[in-house]
């Protein structure tokens, strides 16, 4: 039986910029940053309190996982905010929102009480968006 997820991919436009966003703004920890070859870099980060879930920041480049026009199409889709990749959790949404805004992070939706919980939506530097929810007590 499957017991847990340990890797998930987020496609980004630029790995250096994604590093700045996920590590220096969100405070995620670098798990592995390995050059694989010319123009290829395996970069994974983890949420601060979840060291066993690696988020692989995959650069959308022709010749890596995408061939031909697929890379261009994928870059366009990501930058247009087509993809929502997941839900992050925090202890206090209002405080986290205030801090992230101070750091220049763009929110698509401010903290809002919905019938399913208290959530906000933010986008990363590439255009991928995430829900941010407050841990339920």
């Amino acid at each position: 039986m499957i017991t847990k997820m340990n890797h998930v991919s987020v496609f980004v436009l630029n790995q250096d910029s994604a590093y700045e966003f996920y590590v220096n703004k969100l405070g995620f920890k670098v798990h592995t940053d390995a050059p694989i070859g010319p123009g290829m870099r395996w970069l994974t980060v983890c949420p601060p309190e979840q060291p066993d879930l690696e988020i692989s920041l995959m650069s959308i480049e022709e010749g890596m996982m995408f061939k031909g026009a697929a890379a261009k199409q994928m870059r366009e889709l990501v930058s247009k905010g087509t993809f929502g990749f997941g839900v992050f959790e925090c202890n206090d949404l209002l405080a986290t929102y205030e801090e992230m805004k101070t750091k220049g992070i763009v929110f698509k939706k401010p903290p809002t009480k919905e019938f399913y919980g208290f959530e906000a939506l933010f986008a990363d530097d590439s255009g991928n968006w995430f829900s941010l929810g407050q841990k339920k007590n």
Binding site: H7, T32, A34, W42, N91, D92, E99
Partner: protein, 151 residues
């Protein structure tokens, strides 16, 4: 009707507490007087500590220690000496720094640094050993891609 964030009760308190948290994040290397921080945030010391702990799950002092140890890990990864790192993150005494580091990280600073560079060498020698097979088949990930277009 949904309320905008700014209309939530005690919104102004959040702003002040977040500002103090960000102050600690950027001034961890200095001597931080928590009384001064509480004064600047217009709180009594005890009210400030209670609010901070409610939001971050740690007292300001515990949070400062956490930031200092995390920064120490970053500096050790950049190959600074343990003595330098001790003072770079705001500790006065090498023995208190190493003791606290070991208690929190579970390894002494020297062991932590050695293990970090050993892993870095392993990554350099066999990078594909650190990548799940689904992402990179043995000889590289340009082959057998799941995302290739039909030719």
């Amino acid at each position: 009707m949904k309320k905008p964030f700014e209309e939530y009760p005690k919104f102004y308190l959040y702003k002040r507490i977040v500002q103090t948290k960000l102050f600690i994040d950027s001034h961890y290397a200095e001597k931080i007087d928590l009384n001064t921080i509480a004064d600047e945030a217009y709180f009594s010391k005890f009210h400030f500590i209670r609010l901070f702990k409610n939001i971050y799950g740690k007292t300001p002092h515990q949070y400062l220690t956490k930031v200092r140890i995390e920064k120490a890990q970053e500096f050790l990864q950049k190959n600074h000496s343990i003595t330098d790192v001790c003072f770079m993150v705001g500790f006065d005494s090498l023995s208190s720094f190493t003791g606290l580091f070991k208690r929190i990280v579970k390894h002494s600073p020297s062991v932590y640094q050695r293990q970090f560079f050993q892993r870095l060498e392993q990554i350099k020698d066999v990078p594909l050993g650190f990548i799940p097979n689904c992402f990179a088949e043995n000889k590289g990930w340009t082959q057998n891609s799941n995302f290739q277009e039909e030719q």
